[in-house]
């Protein structure tokens, strides 16, 4: 299994043992990776709790104040997280047999590539500009989803990004960053 731990660290770590069931007995984690959602809920609950405790409530705020509704949500979140854990432990996802071994597992390589492409797009959009970063995003995602013609894709993605630049930038007046190509076009 290829793990892109940096990209989706929390999911990758917890799901990891599930994939190692070839040739030996299923471990405890098999079919129980759903616990990850309970973990996410608990993390959200913890963040909200910290926020409620640290909140700067303006003086004279009428009761029920700004912490009232969030407190209700936090209680609900922790109760649900516990229920999810109980549910997942009692009824694990059915573990797949060898014939259909891959049907229910996640393709971390493709997923990581898509994630990385979008992250790079977010980082590069303003410094490099729409045209190049959007073309790179298109190229990266089509590559991740199994395209086998990198050079053709390169041309296609540049054409696609330029079309959007023209249609939305020039046509509809959206302000897309020019980046390093600023001034050369539009």
């Amino acid at each position: 299994m290829i793990t892109d731990a940096g990209n989706s660290a929390e999911t990758a770590e917890e799901i990891h043992p599930v994939d190692q069931h070839a040739g030996r007995k299923h471990g405890f984690w098999a079919g129980r990776s759903g616990l990850v959602v309970a973990g996410i809920l608990a993390a959200i609950g913890t963040y909200l709790t910290a926020g409620i405790l640290a909140m700067d409530v303006p003086e004279g705020a009428k009761a029920p104040g700004p912490t009232f509704f969030p407190t209700l949500i936090v209680i609900a979140i922790f109760v649900l997280a516990v229920l999810l854990v109980v549910q997942t432990l009692r009824k694990p996802e059915h573990v797949v047999e060898a014939a259909a071994e891959h049907r229910f597992h996640t393709d971390w390589k493709s997923l990581g590539l898509v994630f990385g492409s979008f992250l790079a797009f977010a980082l590069l959009l303003v410094p490099v500009g729409w045209l190049i970063s959007a073309a790179m995003l298109f190229w990266g995602v089509s590559r991740a989803l199994g395209s086998k013609r990198p050079l053709f894709d390169l041309g296609l993605s540049l054409v696609f990004a330029s079309c959007i630049q023209v249609a939305f930038g020039a046509g509809l007046g959206l302000n897309l960053p020019g980046g390093i190509l600023e001034g050369i076009y539009g």
Partner: protein, 501 residues
């Protein structure tokens, strides 16, 4: 007959060449997004939201009228031809529809579904025209306690009825509510859960959440299974979709029964059209068994007609509930609500007084949109299936770029791109473990309404909780909710018992 005059005015506004063009563009794009497997009408609205920013409100909503129904016309096409419904509302249509296609009756199945969607939408929209203003009159009597009851109704019904597991539904709802409370509190001015990041002071934009959960989450989902799932193949369609007179007569009662199932569910918030489509399908199957020559299982035309009409009827009246009550009853309606708020409009009873011209132009456009969609879908359905000739990797690469464009164009803030990425991963994880997504959207959109009305009600009563169940309207709402929950529970128990046998 005041409604008719107002509607005619709406038509005169919608019938300018420019606005007709917007309806057409909306219907076209809506169908295109709806046809793609996995992307339903809510995605169509979410992805096309940024396209409308540079339009005036009237033009934008006229375009949305086309998109709104377009997604629903499109999603059954793929279900029939490829056995992969474009959205959850097309699942019921797919059972008999794909059987018909396999038996070489694809044109008839496509025609039945397109005409069914047209009839359902037409009847429902007509009802909205006559009853939405009355609904708005009633809604004026709603105070904070009543609105809170409505929101609770929507929360619980969506979370428990739609999903297979109540805990999963409620968890999704809680995540939605948690996303909704980030930002400056409107009542007290306190900054909440923003970690002092200025970009978060206004809260997380609904567009960021929608694109993240529905669009980017779907792209991640497709990526995670791209080498796993078997390749799909479409059934070739020979000839144009048509129905003979006999087939039309056969389907007609099913269209009408389906519409009857769909209409009430537009106003009852149970998270969209899944419930009525399955109810309509189930009823037709029951009726079919009593006939001399049962058709179900052999490609029954009625099994396609009823759910399709039900789905669009639900969407039609859902628009009425949104306009008159400000209450979104499905994820699609929730995004429409966000679109209204984007233009500083608040759907609800006052909308009919303050923005009458816009409301009636929108209603008129819904009719025009339906006609355009019938023209686009009836003769050209096989052409839409050709969309699948675009290789999957380019299709989803394009969608990803549009996600980035939509989010950045809304706010011009790079921070939103990182937020949408995080939410996209969240959406992927929830999909992977079979959590329903509709409760998240309902939580995000109705969360602020629920909080404000709850706090206002309690402030005015001096902290008395009893104020929440103090009026006949609230009794009725909680009463209906109890009945809905009891029915769901009863159905779960009976189906479980039947499975055991």
């Amino acid at each position: 007959m005041e409604s008719l005059t107002l509607l005619l005015e709406g038509f005169s506004q919608a019938f300018t060449p420019m606005n007709l063009l917007w309806v057409f563009v909306g219907a076209f794009l809506g169908t295109a997004v709806g046809v793609i497997p996995g992307l339903g009408s809510s995605m169509a609205v979410a992805l096309l939201l940024p396209v409308t920013f540079s339009l005036d409100p009237v033009g934008a909503f006229i375009m949305f009228a086309g998109v709104y129904f377009g997604g629903l016309f499109g999603d059954s096409t793929m279900g029939i031809l490829m056995n992969t419904p474009g959205g959850s509302t097309a699942i019921a249509t797919t059972f008999e529809g794909h059987r018909m296609a396999k038996l070489g009756r694809a044109p008839q199945a496509l025609a039945t579904s397109a005409i069914g969607a047209f009839i359902g939408g037409l009847i429902a929209t007509t009802l909205v025209v006559f009853f939405a203003p009355k609904l708005a009159d009633i809604a004026v009597m709603f105070g904070p306690a009543e609105y809170f009851a409505l929101a609770v109704f929507a929360f619980i019904a969506t979370a428990s009825v739609v999903s297979d597991s109540v805990i999963k539904g409620l968890s999704a709802l809680a995540i939605g509510l948690a996303l909704a409370i980030v930002g400056i509190d409107g009542i007290s001015g306190a900054s909440r859960f923003t970690a002092d990041v200025p970009q978060l002071f206004d809260g997380i934009s609904i567009i960021v959440i929608t694109v993240g959960i529905l669009a980017l989450g779907e792209v991640f989902h497709v990526a995670s299974r791209i080498h796993r799932d078997p390749k799909l193949s479409a059934i070739a369609v020979s000839g144009r979709p048509y129905l003979s007179k006999r087939e039309f007569r056969e389907a007609l009662p099913a269209w009408l029964r389906g519409t009857a199932f769909g209409v009430p569910f537009g106003v009852i918030p149970v998270g969209g059209a899944e419930v009525p489509t399955f109810m309509a399908y189930g009823t037709e199957r029951q009726l079919d068994r009593k006939r001399r020559d049962p058709q179900f299982g052999k490609g029954a035309i009625r099994g396609v007609a009823a759910p399709e009409a039900a789905g669009n009827a639900t969407s039609g009246t859902a628009m009425g509930a949104l306009l008159a009550l400000g209450l979104p009853t499905s994820a699609t309606a929730a995004i429409m609500l966000a679109a209204f708020q984007q233009y500083g409009l608040q759907p609800g009873p006052l909308l009919f007084e303050r923005n009458a011209d816009l409301v009636w132009a929108l209603l008129a456009s819904l009719f025009i949109g339906l006609v355009v969609l019938l023209i686009l879908n009836l003769p050209f359905a096989p052409l839409w299936a050709k969309l699948l000739l675009i290789p999957k990797h380019y299709l989803y690469a394009g969608i990803t770029v549009f996600c980035g464009l939509g989010v950045y164009a809304t706010s011009a803030a790079v921070a939103d791109l990182f937020i949408v990425l995080a939410i996209g991963i969240l959406g992927f994880v929830l999909r992977r473990y079979g959590f329903p997504l509709a409760p998240i959207m309902i939580g995000v959109v109705l969360g602020p309404l629920a909080e404000t009305s709850l706090r206002n009600a309690m402030m005015s009563s001096g902290g008395q909780v009893s104020v929440l169940v103090d009026s006949p309207v609230t009794w009725t709402l909680y009463g209906i909710l109890a009945v809905v929950l009891a029915y769901t529970l009863w159905r779960r128990i009976t189906t479980r018992a039947r499975q055991d046998v």
